[in-house]
């Protein structure tokens, strides 16, 4: 069954707020509660991280979440079970964020068909650039899972090429470097978004370095939405199993800020 089109819903009613959660940090029960709290408090799309031993695109905060999740025994199969259960009541679009080897080693077809079966709408792989997307794209198309494209501050002459073939939504990386909170985002994102818009109708959300409502509002006003990871992982790091209520309140605040964006 194809899930294509569900991601579009996330962007249908104005600017989207997209939280990122590493599955299994500190345990899968907490992840389930955090996902529900985020969905209830206005998350438009939820990015679920499948932990990887060597997350080369992540800063220290999300690296820590990956280590905690793996130490707690999280596996790809257990993450699939988690989503299967969540889909009983959670209707918000969900995408996986992980690394190419997690998909490849599971057996790409097995991984992607399972995504489709359990209701995962898309796949974000930070180590799969445009040139290598044929590794998984045919299977993603076959099973109706959107393979999300990333565009970076250094993409320049590549923006149009990537945007033209983008599906689901475009993940615009706000800054050089790895994930993590930043006091200031200096990239000229408006001109990148302009090139994206000239080449596609696929919505575009900005991530990397966003933690405050002010930043989220600003990023959402430049694009179609804001993605936040490290700031949420920090709440999990601080509050552990009690994190769901804090994440819920944070998502509510951020969603309100994003809705203020014009």
């Amino acid at each position: 069954m194809s899930n294509t089109g569900r991601i579009a819903k996330a962007f249908a009613d104005g600017k989207a707020f997209i939280p990122f959660i590493t599955c299994g940090d500190p345990d899968l029960e907490t992840t389930a509660a955090v996902v529900r709290a985020a969905a209830e408090n206005g998350a438009d799309l939820i990015e679920l991280g499948i932990p990887f031993s060597d997350p080369t695109a992540e800063g220290p905060v999300i690296q820590g979440a990956n280590i905690r999740a793996l130490s707690a025994g999280t596996t790809t199969d257990k993450v699939f079970d988690l989503v299967r259960n969540l889909r009983g009541d959670v209707t918000v679009p969900m995408v996986f964020m992980t690394y190419a080897n997690v998909v490849f080693s599971y057996g790409a077809e097995c991984f992607i068909s399972t995504c489709s079966e359990i209701g995962v709408d898309g796949l974000i792989l930070p180590d799969l650039p445009f040139e290598e997307k044929d590794e998984f794209l045919p299977l993603c198309r076959q099973y109706g899972v959107d393979l999300i494209s990333l565009i970076a501050p250094t993409s320049e002459n590549r923006i149009a090429m990537i945007a033209k073939e983008a599906e689901g939504f475009i993940y615009l990386v706000s800054s050089l470097g790895v994930t993590g909170m930043r006091s200031e985002i200096k990239t000229d994102l408006a001109s990148i978004v302009e090139v994206i818009r000239q080449n596609t109708d696929t919505p575009c959300a900005i991530g990397f370095g966003i933690s405050t409502p002010e930043q989220a509002q600003k990023m959402a006003s430049l694009s179609d939405g804001a993605i936040v990871g490290s700031a949420i992982i920090r709440l999990l790091e601080q509050h552990g199993q009690n994190a769901p209520e804090y994440v819920g309140a944070y998502v509510r605040r951020m969603k309100n800020a994003v809705m203020q964006a014009d």
Binding site: D54, T56, D77, A100, N101, F104, P129, A152, I162
Partner: protein, 396 residues
């Protein structure tokens, strides 16, 4: 052997964040330009010969040959290069290329510290800034090399993430590169990572087999029967193999680090125990669990302590052109001691893995056969660790 898109059979490719794509494309374009530029090549040859001390000797190990009683053994003495290992070949090439590209800063990962020292050396020579990422565990195992890098003006950053060894140093160098690309070249130390690194590093290291070929023709009037080198990422091995790949009569043998044994979890023998995967920018073989989590590997040798292998080796293995064997810590330490006593040459513990296999192979071959062992580096850096392995505590 490289396809236009950087594939060796099914291996290789460019599995990296979008942020780095234009940087590797720019690097590939610059390399394709300069590799055919006579000025670049004459500058590099000058550096190789006048600065690094090339060509390195191909030494006939008469005592070892007599002692083992089989094939004639030659040692390719990369340990005699400036900075004490083959790493300088690649680093001089990349640093010169980076300089031509207008980069002012080199970053590098290092395991044993040899590549870090070589990069710090080239940076000092060429007036470039240098930052080296080294697993915290390795900074302890190789404290002398940390001091050498600092002495040469480099900043050494101990990496605490993951297993705090070579793979984590590579990850951290990649992260650093994504945050600072404009003025910075990532001087990758082995034939691994995203295209074009496996090709660039191989081409700069191929000077080893080019020299072996002409030296053995001069000494013996024929090609060797086998070339043996140690393999971590595999740069000295591919350098030793490259000009023999089309000479089918020459056996190519790569020696991986088995650590405490390929049937234990404390091993770094990727081809023996790994499976196909995608990591650090390339498709190749990796030590990993069933869910694709990269395994914490182990070897007494910090330079071979890596969970993957370069994509061209993976390809040579697939097509059966090269053989890969696994050598344990104990075998490598015995070879380290043996070469010291027999020939008065202290090889790096990495290179000792190649010596160890030659010690098994030579006695099985007739006396008219010839084998070449690449001594990729010298073993001074390893003396304290080997003494400890033998239960003796010495001050460095």
């Amino acid at each position: 052997m490289t396809n236009p898109n950087g594939r060796f059979g099914i291996h290789g490719g460019q599995y990296i964040p979008e942020t780095l794509m234009n940087a590797v494309i720019e690097l590939e374009e610059a390399y394709n330009h300069y590799k055919n530029d006579p000025q670049f090549n004459s500058e590099l040859t000058e550096l190789f010969n006048e600065y690094a001390g090339r060509p390195s000797r191909l030494y006939y190990a008469a005592k070892m040959t007599a002692d083992l009683g089989g094939a004639k053994i030659y040692l390719k003495r990369e340990d005699l290069n400036h900075t004490g290992a083959h790493k300088i070949n690649n680093v001089l090439g990349q640093a010169l290329l980076a300089k031509k590209m207008g980069k002012t800063r080199l970053i590098a990962e290092t395991g044993a510290g040899q590549h870090g020292v070589a990069t710090a050396t080239a940076a000092a020579l060429m007036g470039m800034e240098c930052v080296v990422f080294m697993g915290e565990e390795d900074t302890k195992r190789q404290a002398l090399n940390v001091y050498r890098m600092r002495l040469l003006g480099a900043e050494v950053i101990p990496v605490k993430s993951g297993t705090a060894t070579l793979k984590d140093a590579v990850s951290e160098a990649m992260r650093e590169w994504t945050s600072r690309i404009d003025d910075t070249h990532y001087c990758l130390g082995s034939v691994m990572g995203p295209h074009p690194f496996p090709t660039i590093v191989r081409d700069f290291q191929a000077v080893i087999s080019k020299e072996i070929k002409s030296q053995i023709m001069e000494k013996e009037g024929r090609l060797p029967d086998a070339v043996i080198a140690c393999v971590g990422g595999g740069s000295n091995a591919i350098g030793s193999f490259y000009h023999f790949i089309n000479d089918e009569g020459v056996r190519l043998i790569g020696c991986e680090a088995a650590g405490r044994g390929v049937d234990t979890f404390e091993t770094a023998a990727t081809i023996a125990t790994g499976k196909l995967g995608i990591f650090h920018g390339m498709k190749s073989y990796f030590c990993q669990d069933k869910y694709g989590q990269i395994a914490p590997v182990y070897s007494i040798s910090a330079g071979l302590d890596y969970p993957g292998v370069g994509p061209e080796h993976a390809y040579l293995h697939d097509i059966g052109r090269a053989d890969y064997v696994a050598i344990t810590d104990e075998e490598a330490v015995q070879a380290f001691e043996y070469l010291a006593r027999t020939e008065g040459i202290i090889p790096a513990i990495e290179s000792s893995h190649a010596v160890a296999y030659a010690m098994k192979l030579a006695p099985t071959l007739d006396k008219d056969k010839i084998i070449v062992i690449t001594i990729s580096g010298r073993g001074d850096k390893d003396c304290a660790a080997i003494a400890r392995y033998r239960g003796e505590d010495i001050y460095e």
